[in-house]
């Protein structure tokens, strides 16, 4: 198991190197080059020359790339043009918000998707089965930001059950030791702050969770309907095993492997979706900040965030691969 983890972490190195080359090239491919991109409307020849010297743009490309890489290794991703703060700081203060949102989305998707898919497969042709199909079609075809609009309009604007925007009410006075607002509230025993933060997560969480919900429900349904017809399930049933054990140990456990893979693959989609959902709800995570940086042509942020998000994505997929071993002892032996 440890060997697998080390192996996979080592494989990350060429991936990140490749990405850094692409992102290095990307900045140079921007219209007007990096200096124009960084200065935007503040462009003057003097400012351009200053930045050029500062960034060493007069040096050969390979030297420039080496320096860029060196800075990356020291955690220096440049400075945000919008806020003037280091990109890495912006990322670290906002990432907890996106993690909270993603967790709520996944809890929603898994909490509904797996039972829905399971019942749909066990009672093929029933109302539950049909509604599972409808749910998975909605998740695939309705744009996530449109769903976010509708949820916001219905439940926040019209009914007023949930807040329309933000991570916490402006009037809420709370301390934030970790920047995970719900966790902060629990740690500092500010229960009302934790509750307030949680309520702010519900609508964006549901909107974001609609994509993985569709896919989880569908994969579960397919996997369960295949497994429930397997010979070993028939044998188990024939020897008179208790229904609950048949469901848990024989059907669900065996059906979970493809589902876990699918959930891992959704993380990329979730991060894409977070850009849109966070923007609709003005939720200050990495997604909405990234969207703002697109608007404001804040290239250092785009460059740094893409790289860091790719790292997160790769690590999550590693985690998924490791969890296979926990679910499936056959794979543990092979590894």
């Amino acid at each position: 198991m440890l060997r697998l983890i080390v192996q996979r972490l080592l494989l990350l190195i060429p991936l990140l190197l490749g990405l850094s080359v692409l992102l290095f090239g990307w900045v140079r491919a921007l219209p007007g080059g990096p200096v124009q991109a960084m200065l935007g409307e503040r462009y003057t020849p003097e400012a351009a020359a200053e930045i050029e010297a500062q960034l060493g743009l007069d040096q050969p490309l390979i030297v420039q790339y080496g320096k860029y890489l060196l800075r990356l290794l020291q955690g220096d991703f440049g400075v945000s043009l919008q806020s003037g703060r280091p990109v890495i700081d912006e990322f670290l203060t906002r990432f907890p918000a996106t993690i909270e949102l993603t967790v709520v989305a996944l809890v929603f998707a898994i909490g509904i998707g797996i039972p829905l898919g399971y019942v749909a497969a066990r009672r093929a042709g029933s109302i539950v089965d049909h509604s599972a199909v409808v749910v998975s079609l909605i998740g695939v075809t309705v744009p996530v930001f449109f769903l976010a609009f509708i949820l916001k309009y219905l439940f926040a604007v019209e009914l007023g059950w949930f807040p329309t925007t933000g991570r916490q009410s402006a009037t809420m006075i709370a301390t934030h030791p970790t920047n995970f607002y719900v966790l902060d509230g629990l740690l500092t025993a500010e229960w009302d702050a934790a509750w307030d933060a949680l309520v702010h997560l519900i609508l964006p969480g549901i909107a974001l969770g609609s994509i993985p919900l569709a896919i989880v429900a569908r994969m579960t349904r397919a996997a369960v309907s295949e497994v429930q017809n397997a010979d070993y399930v028939r044998t188990a049933r024939a020897k008179g095993i208790k229904a609950s054990r048949l469901r848990g140990d024989h059907i669900l456990k065996n059906a979970m492997l493809p589902v876990v893979t699918t959930i891992g693959l959704q993380v990329g989609l979730l991060l894409s979706g977070a850009v849109l959902t966070e923007t609709v709800f003005a939720f200050s995570g990495i997604g909405s900040f990234l969207a703002d940086s697109v608007f404001n042509a804040d290239y250092p942020v785009m460059q740094g965030f893409v790289l860091m998000i790719a790292v997160v994505y790769a690590l999550v997929n590693l985690l998924v691969d490791v969890s296979y071993g926990l679910i499936d002892p056959r794979l543990r032996r092979q590894q």
Partner: protein
């Protein structure tokens, strides 16, 4: 599970939408010798889900092509400009059946022209992705060895960035225009098609008929072009149909992020949806109508793609 013992249950491993067609064919009917495509067509015709999908797609394409005839006003016209005030956006009336938007555009006309814009983005970006993926996939599948390795690592790199971020990064280079949106969405599709095509070509390469063709003295080129490629085409067509759905949705997302360029009053579904954000409480129809158009169009292409996948899947063949 042995080949001659396919269970007649719906929901094989490919996770089909469950209106399955297994066992629908006349029992014992002999369709021996017919091609993959003839068989697929025969199953599709009997699948209600596929028919719904085809009807949606047909209506969408017709509306898009006939936009100049169908739309009461031009795509850039603002016929109701004088009637719109910041506090009051007129709803449906005899003259404007779906009402006006904040710029004074006729919503019905804009929805119709929006179909044309969506079709254009969908088809062009899918063609772009398909061509790029085809070239990369062919390169990898044909030369193998280190070329294959290099191409696949490039594909891995592109897939390691979440698709929307990749599209946004590309649009940042190309500039803000509808062409940028098409290129960005197309580039995102390239690695998907490349991987798919390479995978299915590798699978074909191991088949006996390829060995037979080589044994008969056919060159690698003619084996690849006239045997391997045509046989790998099924999954690619399925993916192309599904990517038309994705393109419509992603184009809206890129518009939403402000990468579409041009006037904010442009007749594009994504743009209309984005502009409607500010009037959500006053005129929710401005958001709901284009949203439904996007969802229904995406639904049509998804249904067609999924039923095509099902029909082409050899595991789902009717037993004879």
């Amino acid at each position: 599970m042995s080949a001659n013992e396919l269970p007649v249950t719906d929901g094989a491993a490919a996770a089909p939408l469950h209106t399955s067609i297994h066992g629908d064919g006349p029992a014992g009917a002999d369709h021996g010798g017919e091609g993959v495509w003839a068989r697929a067509w025969r199953t599709l015709r009997k699948n209600p889900v596929a028919i719904i999908g085809f009807v949606i797609v047909a209506v969408f394409v017709l509306v898009a092509l006939l936009a100049p005839v169908l739309a009461p006003y031009g795509g850039t016209e603002l016929p109701g400009r004088a009637d719109v005030r910041p506090t009051m956006i007129p709803g449906p009336s005899a003259e404007f059946p779906l009402g006006l938007d904040r710029y004074g555009g006729d919503v019905l006309s804009k929805l119709i022209w929006g179909a044309q814009a969506s079709l254009l983005v969908g088809v062009l970006s899918t063609l772009f992705g398909l061509t790029g993926g085809l070239l990369l996939g062919l390169l990898a599948g044909w030369f193998g060895k280190w070329v294959d390795f290099a191409v696949m690592r490039l594909v891995d790199l592109m897939l390691s960035v979440p698709s929307l971020l990749l599209a946004v990064s590309i649009a940042a280079i190309v500039g803000q225009s509808s062409m940028a949106v098409i290129i960005a969405i197309g580039v995102v599709q390239v690695p998907i098609f490349a991987r798919l095509l390479r995978g299915s070509m590798l699978a074909q390469k191991g088949q006996d008929y390829v060995l037979a063709a080589s044994a008969l003295g056919l060159t690698r080129r003619s084996v690849t072009m006239s045997h391997v490629l045509p046989n790998s085409v099924g999954p690619v067509i399925v993916q192309a149909t599904l990517s038309l759905a994705t393109a419509v949705i992603e184009a809206a997302a890129l518009s939403f992020l402000g990468l579409g360029g041009g006037e904010p009053s442009t007749a594009e579904w994504g743009r209309m949806l984005t502009a409607a954000q500010q009037e959500l409480a006053v005129a929710p129809r401005l958001a709901i109508l284009p949203g439904i158009c996007i969802a229904v169009t995406a639904l049509g292409f998804t249904l067609v793609g999924e039923s095509l996948r099902e029909a082409l899947d050899p595991r789902n063949r009717t037993r004879r």
